[in-house]
Amino acid sequence: MSWFILRRTLSAGVVIFGVVTVIFVLSRLIGDPIALMIQPGMTVADIEELRALWNLDAPIPEQFIRFLGSALTGDFGLSIWQGQPALGLVLESLPATLLLTSAALLGALLLALVLGSLAAIKRDSMLDRTLMSLTLFGQSVPNFWLALMLVLVVSVHFHLLPPAGYGTGSHLVLPAIALGLFPLARLTRLVRAELLDVLSQDYIRTARSKGIAPWLILVRHCLRNIAISLVTVIAVDFGTLMGGAVVTETIFAWPGMGRLMIDAISHRDFPIMQAGAFVVALVVVLTSLIADITYAIINPRIRYA
């Protein structure tokens, strides 16, 4: 087990290094932050001074080596526009994004287990067909449209929940629904499909013939067996949502990382982009590491593979 974790940690390090390198190179290709800072009255010397201040005057390989050197010590530099440590800014906005993403995924998972099981058990019934059409809707409805409709109906018309903002549980509900609908639809379909597969297995028939209560069969035998595919999908979804929460964060004024990153990109604020890419890569890699370890816990055979 420890060898397994060590191996995974090493490859995680390689992935993170790769992501940070790619972001460093790409960011230099998309434009010059200094061009966005030029104001009337500035002289060429002023502009050169600005470039030197942010180390943008050195050749790119040199900039990269300098960046790596300080990044290893946890220093990602100061934000070009905000003058504060870039990593600190990213870490400050991380909890809001993690909260939103986790709430959306957790809600989606719990609901998907119930709805997916119902659909599988009542296969081809009216309920099953309705649920499956709804999942189709959930997978195809654009996220931003849903978010705006939620605001319009739930907040502006019925005054049930705040239209935007951050801080209390009631602020979390709408963005979590807007963000969680897609994974909910996907997970519901997955639970249903996997369950149908498991339900036709011999051991389920055996369990039934032994007279075990149907709900106990479902929880003990069926859900356990579909856990691995669920964990895989959730781990992938978590990474996708971390990056995909931008639109939801913008509409609901959620002070998360997505918005910080989008602002950084439009301002060409390289240090924030780099620190952000590092943190996202770290979170995604950690998630998949946790997923791998979870596999091993769920299915002992994986440990020895």
Binding site: D32, P163, Y166, P255
Partner: protein, 513 residues
Amino acid sequence: MKAHHAYSLLKSAPLVASLMMGSVGTSALAAELGTITIATQLDLLTLNSSKNVTGWHRWVYRNIYDPLITLDENNEIKPALATSWERIADNTWRFKLREGIKFQNGEPFTAEAVKLWIDEGKKADSQARGSLALITEAKVVDDHTLDIVTDGPVAYFIDTIADRMSALPPAYYKQVGAQEFGLKPVGTGPYKFVSWRRGDRIVLESNPEYWGGAPKADGVVFWVVPDASARAAAVLNGEATLGTAIAPLEAPRFESSATARISASEGGNRPIWGGMMMNRPIFQDRRVREAVNLAVNRQAIVDRLLRGYGKPMGQLCATSMYCYDPAIGPMPYDPAKAKSLLQEAGVKDMSITLHAPQGPVAQANELTQIIAANLKQVGFNVSIRIDEASQFSAKLYDFDNKGKDVGDLFIYFYQGGPGSETTIRSLTNSKGNWNWQYYHDAQVDAHWDQAQKSFDQGPRQEALQKLSAKVRADVPWLFLYEPLSVWAVSNKIAWKARADDQIIIQDMGPAEK
């Protein structure tokens, strides 16, 4: 040198002071306004007022800090931290500062505090630097007298610092350093900083010790709501008192609302204009440039894209600027005349590339399509190019290659507002560092010089009017329109959009019943 007062400051100073003092003891009002929540489109980059002077920063700064000189709702210059000022030499201004004022941490306000603001603002890491480029030095004369030396005589100097220049508490600043100060600011203003959750909100509370009398609100919250329709919803729903930058598309939602209304400015501080590349053969003939102008139906654009919340232009300067000449009307829409001008010039099937950035110019796609259709009607062949904002500006700044990648006619904006003659000057002066269209005209340069040297209102106004008339006749620009500032206002308060787009809590009152 004869002492000289800009405008009629001394006369108005005691009046303003007495008005401010007059509000002492009216604490019943504070309860009535309660906490004002302002839903804004952008978060601040720093709370250090010397590092950024853009409008949305000054919304917040205006409460924590006081400006040296301010503007009233009609854009008239008024004293604030400075009680009076005079020009003591061609390039030197002397400011008398208000006495007996304390910073929120108890430090006394002195000339040193203003000098610190200027010195910090001129550092390379300050985004206020460009607007302070005129200043070469700030000299403390005594505790309440400060001299500011400019790079040559600059008549519009006072305009450029109004509502921008403020003061930093020297002892506290030295103790915490610039970086920390940007997170925990201390000023002389009516509201004290409480907290800043980045990307979410800045919370301020009333400063009962304020030198200008008790503040009208108990607290002010600047709440970042980046999505325009969410901002509208927040005000409609009563979660915010004021919403900035409301999309005209949202305005109808307020017509039937009992809780909130729309307030729009009379002019716009972010005009949209078109620059013709004057270094290319196609725009050498003035008649072609005029034809381009006559072909475009500004009113239709304003009605269609801005639902009427816009004002067609016919000159360089926008309504709220000192260089605006009300005698010059908007450019007429006259496609027939455009056609005959082109015929006269012997131009047929001329090809033009129309170029615009996505982002800085709102609805760039729709706008360029309408302009292209207008131009096609009079016989131009138009191709459209849309770029992402920083790609676009990189092409503009490619002075080494004479902007070869910029389209023949580019659509852009400029940051207007009172005191932004510097911007227009940078755009149109031969030596201007924003002269992306390579417009060189000796007369225009001479008018600018004259305006910069004329310290008396009359001759200066005259020089600026000549300038406006000359550029209108020369048509190096495709004059377009000023989008108005559209605000959502809760019916709980009385408030009107100002010409300078500032939000000043002191302007607000309880709703008139």
